[in-house]
């Protein structure tokens, strides 16, 4: 379970105080186990800042974030151990093979020996990476890179799973594999937090949607509830309407 409570974060420009950016302004939400929670928001709404706070990379000015009840500021390593991350910007170690990279991240999560080997084999099989596994990742296509990054994030079977726009650049087949995978994780009772700009995908996949605008929670609920709240028939229209109003329809 991921809980974010009243997060505030400002980036202060020391030279010019007027340039201070208020990235998070009292954001609160909860992503429950056994659910896929979608996080929506226009560019610059504070999604990445929020997720980085969740990873323990940034320190909130006010409020707190917990992962399975562990505070990310107090015990960042323990909190991260419960987390699988697919970051916004990702790169690969181009001089390593796909297998070596997945192995690397599995080891960073403290896996070893036969357990690690089986976990790697499993994730390679699940994501259909067999052919790529023993090639160096230099020259991989965008979709292949994403799959490797996903495999890195999933190999230790994290209880909580945060994905920052995971489907960009994936072909239809890979997107389906990913969706099936997320559905399986959900069924097993994992907590999945998922950010995306593709409305159909969010509508199809997410149990609950959180809409973030100007560093605040603009609205939350099931896709259906959000549509009803905005009085629109599809999520895209509802989203535009919900972030467009200054005060937000509901919080």
């Amino acid at each position: 379970m991921i809980e974010v409570n009243n997060l505030h974060k400002s980036f202060i420009d020391k030279k010019n105080k007027k340039n201070t950016v208020k990235a998070l302004d009292g954001l609160s939400f909860t992503a429950n186990d056994g659910e896929i929670t979608g996080i929506l928001g226009p560019n610059g709404a504070g999604k990445t800042t929020c997720l980085r706070t969740l990873y323990g990379l940034l320190c909130a000015d006010e409020g707190f974030a917990t992962i399975d009840g562990i505070s990310v500021t107090e015990k960042p390593l323990a909190a991260r151990a419960k987390l699988g991350i697919f970051p916004d910007k990702f790169g690969l170690y181009e001089r390593l093979t796909a297998y070596e990279q997945i192995d690397y991240f599995a080891s960073l999560h403290g896996m070893s020996g036969q357990v690690k080997k089986q976990a790697i084999e499993q994730v390679i099989q699940d994501l259909d990476l067999g052919e790529l596994a023993h090639r160096k990742t230099v020259g991989f296509s965008q979709g292949q890179r994403m799959k490797i990054t996903l495999a890195q994030a999933l190999v230790h079977q994290p209880q909580n799973f945060v994905l920052d726009e995971p489907t960009r650049g994936l072909d239809v087949m890979s997107t389906r594999i990913l969706r099936n995978h997320l559905a399986k994780f959900k069924a097993k009772g994992h907590c999945i937090l998922f950010s995306s700009h593709v409305m159909q995908e969010v509508a199809a996949l997410c149990d609950r949607v959180i809409i973030v605008a100007n560093g605040k929670l603009a609205a939350q609920g099931t896709p259906q509830e959000l549509c009803e709240l905005a009085g629109e028939s599809n999520l895209e229209e509802a989203f535009v309407k919900l972030i467009g109003s200054d005060e937000g329809v509901a919080a």
């Binding site: 970051p87 910007k89 990702f90 790169g91 170690y93 390593l96 960073l108």
Partner: protein, 395 residues
């Protein structure tokens, strides 16, 4: 639940293994490290050879004699001094001597004037501003003066004059330079080079694993993992300094092999890069390797791009070249210099090559100080990697 120590070890092993894989698969970085090592013995051999030639040999000089047939005694005296006739020049040197074109004209009345005791004018023609011509000209001059004097002395002797009257004053030169002073220079250069290699060899690995990773967007992913930044930094330090240790080892090995091919005994030097000297040098340079990598990582992690890292860290290279140089210029060396990293080691290396008894206390102090500074740098860097500033610079 697995114990914390096992977990730490698994993580550290994975981190180090990954750094090694990346470093040893980076052909360019390895090339830099190996280039330094291979160039060293070649350079030292070449310099030794040139110095030996300059110091020891009086290489043959080929002079265009005209009228050589009038003065056979003089020509013989020249030949004894390795000043030979141009006609005897070997084919491969012909063009150089043709170009230098040193000509000595001996007049036809040489024999007659000699017999009559009249002064004889010999004309030496050459481009006196040409640097390559100056030493041969000087030698011709000396040889001729000596020959002329010997004839003059004989004439005076025949007339019953004590030739010592001609030299009321005599300057006795006593050269206090040790026979191997030149060789000292070579070994000093080796010391400097070793220091430079310790700094240079791991350089590209250090930059690549810090600023390079940031630029390739893999650092953020790594910082989000449940690993302490200290382990991350340690792994990178181990990998970069391993490369520089390999570089230093190769230099020591190749140099000790290659000096066997140069006949240093000609300049009165016996190069003794034996096993124990090499081991002591390695012991001295090991902390330097770690210190250098720590400095480079510390600087490179704080730059914004790979390029910036390269130029900034490039400036660090100046330190190992500059400090020993300054120290060798100093007459009064303050005590604290002995303890500083680089300065301390370079003074000890200087002493090793001078053959002075090794001061183990100095070795211990300077090594400890170097290690303490390295540890401080690593801890500071691990702390810095946790700060928001570094994270903000990620994108």
């Amino acid at each position: 639940m697995m114990s914390n120590l096992t977990r730490d070890l698994i993580q550290l092993k994975a981190l180090v293994l990954k750094e090694y894989r990346e470093a040893f698969r980076d052909k360019r970085a390895l090339m830099v490290a190996l280039m330094m090592a291979i160039l060293a013995p070649i350079g030292i051999m070449m310099i030794s050879k040139i110095m030996i030639e300059k110091l020891v040999d009086e290489p043959p000089v080929y002079v265009k004699f005209s009228g050589a047939e009038y003065a056979p005694q003089l020509i013989k005296h020249f030949a004894d001094n390795n000043l030979l006739a141009f006609v005897d020049v070997p084919a491969d040197e012909k063009s150089t001597w043709q170009q230098r074109s040193i000509t000595l004209n001996i007049p036809a009345n040489y024999a007659a004037d000699m017999a009559a005791g009249k002064p004889i004018q010999l004309h030496l023609q050459a481009d006196f501003t040409d640097k390559a011509v100056q030493p041969p000209v000087r030698r011709i001059n000396n040889a001729l003066r000596a020959f002329s004097l010997s004839i003059g002395y004989k004439r005076l002797l025949l007339r019953g004059v004590d030739i010592r009257l001609l030299n009321p004053l005599e300057l006795v030169e006593q050269d206090t330079a040790k026979p191997d002073a030149t060789f000292m220079l070579i070994s000093m250069m080796l010391g400097l080079y070793l220091m430079l290699a310790a700094f240079m060899s791991g350089l590209s690995v250090a930059i690549d694993s810090s600023a390079g990773e940031r630029e390739r967007n893999v650092l953020e992913m790594l910082l989000c993992q449940p690993v302490s930044t200290l382990k991350i930094v340690l792994a990178k330090l181990i990998s970069a300094s391993t490369i520089s240790v390999i570089g230093v080892l190769l230099i020591l090995l190749l140099t000790s092999v290659s000096v066997g091919f140069v006949d240093l005994t000609k300049i009165g030097a016996t190069f003794s890069l034996d096993l124990s000297t090499a081991a002591i040098l390695l012991l001295l340079l090991l902390p330097i390797c770690f210190f250098a990598s720590a400095c480079q990582l510390f600087v490179a992690f704080q730059t914004k791009s790979f390029k910036e890292a390269q130029s900034t860290v490039g400036m660090l290279i100046g330190i190992p070249a500059f400090i020993p140089f300054v120290i060798s210029m100093m007459d009064d060396r303050p005590q604290w210099l002995n303890w500083l990293p680089i300065a301390g080691q370079s003074m000890i290396i200087e002493k090793i090559f001078k053959g002075v008894e090794l001061d183990w206390l100095a070795v211990f102090t300077t090594s400890s100080v170097t290690i303490v500074i390295t540890v401080a740098l690593i801890l500071a860097l691990a702390k810095k990697l946790k700060s928001e500033k570094v994270v903000m610079a990620l994108s």
